[in-house]
């Protein structure tokens, strides 16, 4: 069975680079920034839905990483990239809260049982269409969907991050995938069939 695509954050940071960042060396930190610039920006963009906001989240995330790198000790073998990703997720969620974009939806029990019933449409293989459909989701649903599917967070972890329950996370994933399918199954722009013209029969 082919392996799953790992998180885009799963980058092994060499020890000497990490030591340089901890020592506050700007050259080392720039290298770290270049390694994680796109994963952090993409995560922030998927969650916040705005490029300028995502750029700010990237800035604030990396500033916090620089300030706190000395405190990372890799307990229990946890990788540095996992810690960095968590800083980015927290920053993106904080930005959404500040903008009051984490709507107060309640978990609908019925949704949870539909989670595994939403098949993947063929259009999901089109990256551009999938990105457009994802961008059309509400921020909360999109964030949960992204954290669950793309970053591999569990429902329990998502519940803690968003200060909700695991049922809430499950319902958001179910709603989100259902909505994605609906959006992907719509005809793509420019590929709509022309309306059928009734055939005129001549006598």
């Amino acid at each position: 069975m082919p392996p799953r695509t790992p998180s885009s954050f799963a980058i092994d940071v060499p020890e000497d680079l990490l030591a340089g960042v901890r020592a506050g060396r700007h050259v080392a930190f720039e290298r770290l920034y270049r390694l994680f610039e796109r994963p952090v920006f993409t995560l922030a963009l998927r969650m916040c839905g705005d490029r300028d906001v995502a750029a700010d989240v990237l800035q604030e995330t990396m500033l916090k990483v620089f300030a706190r790198a000395g405190g990372f000790n890799g307990r229990n073998g946890s990788p540095f990239w996992g810690w960095l990703r968590q800083v980015a997720v927290n920053e993106a969620l904080m930005r959404l809260r500040q903008q009051r974009r984490l709507d107060a939806e309640t978990a609908l029990p019925d949704d949870a049982c539909l989670e595994s019933e939403v098949p993947l449409p063929q259009a999901a293989a089109d990256a551009a269409r999938l990105q457009r459909a994802l961008a059309a989701l509400p921020p909360t649903t999109r964030s949960v969907l992204w954290l669950y599917h793309a970053e591999g967070y569990t429902h329990e972890e998502i519940a803690v991050l968003m200060e909700r329950t695991p049922s809430f996370s499950k319902s958001q994933v179910a709603r989100g995938t259902r909505r994605l399918r609906e959006l992907l199954e719509r005809p793509a722009v420019g590929h709509a069939r022309p309306p059928l013209v009734p055939e005129v029969r001549h006598a």
Partner: protein, 281 residues
Amino acid sequence: MPDMQAPRPTPIRDWRDALSSLPLDTPDGDGWPRLAARLPIHGNAVDPPARRGTRQAGVAMPRRRRGWLAVAAVAGIASLALLPVLRVQDTIVEPSPSPTAPPGTVESAVPVAIAQPASVGQPVQGEAPPGIVAAVPAPRSGAGVAASSRPGGRIPTGIATATSIQEPVAPPVASAPAGIVPTGDAFDRLYDQSARLEALVAMARDDGMASATGAYMAAALEDRIGGIDASLAREDLLPDERLRLWGDRVDALRSLAATEISQRMIALHGDARGAVLVRVD
């Protein structure tokens, strides 16, 4: 922009595969200069031997070292009293990338331009190697200090890389004067100035050649910048307050750069009076 042409190597079996294999997106423009400008002055552009000690962001130098430097500074100042008085120039000004600052806002009578090192991203015309041209600092409050408009004398070999001597141009506004709206452009200008000045400081700094007075002044300026950084870290700052602090940071960095450059000049030549002030685009 997203990398839409990148192949998606893993088969798309479910929603997890579909979402996790979406290509990464790239921020618009390079965010590193803006980020670098917000980092505390710490370490150098090259991997250091021990420089002015490693510091945590916003933490002042240890009191023991500051006390030692104070004693050394007093002795140095006493010995400097025997040296000829250095003619100093007023505020150091860098070329502005967008000369939108209104003329007449410069604080000095004759601003002095510093050649931008090529490594900062400003290409140096011709084959002149990058270098830092002498720019002697002046106290900002020194309104009574005479500013020589056109220092005469020789161009120190090995240092000057200029191709011409130009009249000073309208300088950028370092601090945010009253009435300036804290727009993104205003912040970006200050971020850029801050990043360039930090790079200049890193290039000019050489602890092995620092005088007691210069070391004391540089330490004091670093402490001031650390204090500004600590203030900038507050989340409750209003935009105009944040803009003012960034202006103060640029001013302090400018003074620090001037101090470091003058130290290099004194150490190399012992006398900066003969340096010709030039501008390299």
